[in-house]
Symmetry: C2
Subunit: 92 residues, 2 copies
């Protein structure tokens, strides 16, 4: 069974996010003065072939911890796990 997974990796709260600060600093000159707390993270989409959703979640959490994020400074969170319907875009 194939599952489409979305994983979000964000810097931990309290850590300075230079990319977010850069965005935030540019907004007023473009006319938007009501935006704050900008943080930029990573959105990782992937397809995993596994027996069930529990196996997918366990594997993606291990991948996030060992490879896709830096657990010292980042939090990784699975925001979506959806079984792929045969014949859908991306299916074999």
């Amino acid at each position: 069974m194939r599952y489409r997974v979305v994983l979000v990796v964000r810097l931990k709260e309290g850590l300075l996010d230079p990319q977010g600060k850069a965005v935030e600093g540019a907004l007023p000159s473009l006319g938007w003065t009501n935006v704050s707390h900008v943080r930029v993270g990573k959105d990782v989409e992937l397809v995993v072939d596994a027996v069930d959703e529990a196996a997918v979640r366990a594997q993606v959490e291990e991948m996030a911890h060992r490879f896709l994020s830096n657990p010292v400074i980042e939090d990784a969170r699975i925001v979506e796990v959806a079984a792929e319907v045969a014949g859908a875009p991306g299916s074999p």
Copy 2:
């Protein structure tokens, strides 16, 4: 009223995603051979001060189109708009 917004920016379908390919290419050597279709996008979190949710959505869509994404090669999608409760973390 302050709203917390999450915007996801991804390369359009069909476009080559070198970062996703790099991740995908590294996974088998780490023991994960059942992962495919890896795509890496941006996750932008921000707080907008506006009168209502409709105003927030309109503004963030304009920001996404003009500044936070490249509409030629990327799709931007608002995935969350939540009113901030006074006294919550990040509120003034």
